[in-house]
């Protein structure tokens, strides 16, 4: 049995630590013939969907389990014929969520754009358009809808192709069974569309908790909240235990 994992830095290793031996996917190597980790630090849910489809369509998935670790919905991708897939990060702190709910001062939020190799894209037209899109066109609800569309698209694909999988998330905000609505409770309300999309998600395919919950307080440092070795061990124990419960 093989394992495919995809996600962000919580699965790939942060840009500082890299793909160290104690990363949770690497701890699965004794239990699987092969572990393929296509996660990327700073990656978006759009990237996770795109690269998972790409991998699955190019490989025989008959004997492969898939774990998808969804990430912050403030990241996304657009295609550029010049730059390839642009990784767009909306730098929004929790204090500034209100700004995305179309309230007052939005000047603290900004967008950073990188190409697939991690190089900053400095094109002023692109930056201006994407900053204004974040500031004026997109609400938290719109980001959440984009996220749920990705989850449902991948759910449809994996089910259709009889690929066994489990979904999990970086933190509770993106976890379908836990706090997907938590991000709203302070500032915003959920639209009927989001509630209906969420109802279409198969909750039985999700881990019980998010990675941040499994790792407890075992992060690298105050400035780097990624899981340390113990945190990764706790994540591995929890995820692989649940994976065995679901798929044997």
């Amino acid at each position: 049995m093989n394992l495919l994992v995809n996600g962000c830095s919580f699965t790939a290793g942060s840009t500082m630590q890299g793909n160290v031996s104690w990363l949770w996917p690497n701890m699965a190597e004794d239990n699987f013939s092969q572990v393929q980790n296509i996660a990327k630090a700073g990656g978006s849910n759009d990237r996770i969907l795109r690269t998972t489809l790409q991998y699955c369509n190019n490989n025989n998935m008959d004997d492969t389990l898939v774990i998808i670790q969804w990430t912050s919905f403030f990241r996304h991708e657009y295609y550029s014929s010049r730059h390839g897939w642009m990784n767009i990060t909306c730098n929004v702190t929790e204090d500034n969520f209100s700004q995305l709910s179309n309230q007052t001062d939005k000047t603290k939020n900004y967008v950073s754009i990188e190409d697939e190799n991690g190089n900053n894209i400095e094109n002023k037209h692109i930056q201006d358009a994407l900053n204004n899109e974040m500031l004026y066109l997109n609400s938290i609800n719109d980001y959440n809808i984009r996220y749920l569309k990705n989850v449902l698209t991948l759910q449809y694909y994996l089910n259709k192709n009889n690929i066994k999988y489990m979904f999990t998330s970086m933190n509770e905000n993106e976890h379908i069974n836990l706090g997907l609505d938590a991000v709203y409770t302070k500032k915003n309300s959920v639209t009927p569309l989001e509630a209906q999309l969420k109802m279409s998600v198969d909750q039985t395919k999700w881990s019980k908790q998010s990675l941040q919950t499994y790792m407890e307080e075992n992060y690298i440092s105050q400035n780097d909240r990624h899981p340390n070795e113990i945190g990764n061990k706790l994540i591995a124990q929890a995820l692989f235990g649940e994976l065995m419960e679901k798929h044997g």
Partner: protein, 265 residues
């Protein structure tokens, strides 16, 4: 049997986008859904409608209503149209592409004729807030932003990727509700059926990425009719290329025949 239909002006009927009170015009009664031989028709299409709205309204309808004894026709429209939610006004703002951009009027008129037009479910929202906003949510800024994103930040590929995801979600949702359905579209630009008749005609002149190709494989070809509404109505159209009353009869005949072929009607 009840027919649920959703789409844009090709299903709602064309004409003025807004009525005198600023509301978007409801579907006209000569349109093709009302010509399908069923007991009752629910037509939630609207002029200038977008695919996001079509998914949202359809999910809302079948969540609030028992889906038994229903069939559905979804008429997809241009992928570059979209909608966004505005929590401050609790409304969905709909962005529709417009054909003409004239720059020989005043600056204000020119800006208003930008490459998108802005609609909302409730016309009052537009006049109360977007027309008079002093918080950068005025029509100018929103239309300009949507246009800049189209021109500089996104490619047609991005709109198609999102279009395919929306179709996949609709397939998944209607299947889960056991509603028999047919997909059709406004024009060949939005018609995904992989038949000879559709290949190479009025398609976007772009190079597809692997992503679109992979998403395309998830689309259920069997639920699509063979041709979009623009091709079915052919020469029975108004000068603006919307189907006239004869065109609507042709579309209704085509959809009825598709349902009969599948043993649904």
């Amino acid at each position: 049997m009840k027919l649920y239909a959703n789409g844009c002006s090709f299903t709602a009927g064309n004409g003025d986008v807004h009525g005198a009170d600023g509301h978007l015009m409801p579907p006209a009664n000569y349109t093709w859904p009302s010509l399908i031989p069923v007991e009752h028709v629910i037509n939630e299409s609207r002029v200038g409608g977008n695919n996001d709205r079509i998914l949202r309204k359809t999910m809302d309808y079948f969540t609030k209503n028992n889906s038994d004894n229903h069939i559905a026709v979804i008429q997809w429209t241009s992928p570059v149209r979209f909608e966004r939610y505005f929590p401050m006004f609790d409304c969905w703002a709909e962005f529709c592409n417009v054909n003409n951009l004239e720059v020989n009027n005043t600056l204000q008129q020119t800006k208003l004729q930008g490459k998108y037009s802005l609609h909302a479910d409730n016309g009052e929202i537009i006049s109360k807030f977007f027309d008079n906003s002093d918080m950068n949510y005025d029509k100018f800024n929103l239309i300009e932003t949507a246009t800049k994103v189209l021109m500089y930040a996104k490619e047609i590929n991005d709109y198609i990727v999102d279009f395919y995801k929306t179709i996949i979600l609709m397939q998944q949702f209607l299947d889960s509700k056991n509603v028999p359905y047919i997909f059709t579209s406004m024009s060949f630009f939005n018609h995904i059926k992989d038949t000879e008749a559709c290949m190479g005609i009025e398609k976007f002149d772009i190079i597809n990425t692997n992503y679109e190709t992979n998403l395309y494989k998830c689309l259920d070809q069997s639920v699509w009719n063979n041709e979009p509404c623009s091709a079915i109505a052919k020469n029975h159209v108004f000068p603006d290329r919307h189907p006239n009353e004869d065109g609507h009869i042709l579309i209704a005949n085509n959809i009825t025949s598709e349902f009969k072929k599948r043993g649904i009607l």
